[in-house]
Symmetry: C2
Subunit: 174 residues, 2 copies
Amino acid sequence: MKKGLIIVHTGNGKGKTTAALGLAFRALGNGFKVCMIQFIKGTWKYGELEAAKKFENFEILPMGKGFVNLGADKPNPEDVKAANEAFEKAKEAILSNNYDMVILDEINYAISYKLIKVDDVVNLLQNKPDKVHIVLTGRNAHEKVIDIADLVTEMKEIKHPYQKGIKAQKGIEF
Amino acid sequence: MKKGLIIVHTGNGKGKTTAALGLAFRALGNGFKVCMIQFIKGTWKYGELEAAKKFENFEILPMGKGFVNLGADKPNPEDVKAANEAFEKAKEAILSNNYDMVILDEINYAISYKLIKVDDVVNLLQNKPDKVHIVLTGRNAHEKVIDIADLVTEMKEIKHPYQKGIKAQKGIEF
């Protein structure tokens, strides 16, 4: 039986979610079933949601809340609730063995802001069905997640349009 | 008029072409017209080519040769010819103003192995129609390309499955 990979896209640059989207389309083109769970709402925009509709094997579950309160010492209980609901859905999707690929979008962010427990995530990854590929995106991937991963890429920002005073472009950033 | 961005995906990690593919699907979902020109043949595999067929506004031109002879002091004339043909097509596609996004896949590689001239590429980027977004992928992006770019992301390999002795997986890497 083929072994599914644990893939991590992290770093401060762009392309973490975009590359996950690219992996999803590649997998869909191979006839795979893909599920994407958003831990932070709103990172997938109109363009990709429209494109995703072309594929009946692509399921997107927008679960998380819009924004995490970064300033607070303790995470907002509502954010914790939303992130844990997303995690329950992720567990269900992965353990169902119904999908060839499950994308946990911005889960690193949810771990890093202590909305969900890293040990629960590691435990799920350890017990995933063999064939399923898991893609975890978001900044500040936890060391324990990197340890268990097969493929880790850091997307590093070298230059950003905001540095040149250009606003976000439709179809590119939103 | 909206300004199209010059976007570079470089670095030794995975995800450069995959993130370009993600950008393409996002743009297609927004109703944009996208053209992708391959400077090195074979980097886009069955999965994405199949997925691309779902979108009538997505044109893929596989132009380059399969492999560049890395060992030689001078590039193989056949590789030079193929890369220059790809560059002519790129020029045509960009200057036609028919596309909202043109992806020059692995062009950095072609520049770095001196198959095409960096000054020709910079000149084309300087003279591109305002609205068109250009995405340039490949390792070792040239300094002059980075200078003219709006958005540059380095995909950095932190961990690779080959390090764990796992072979390429269908739907992920081919």
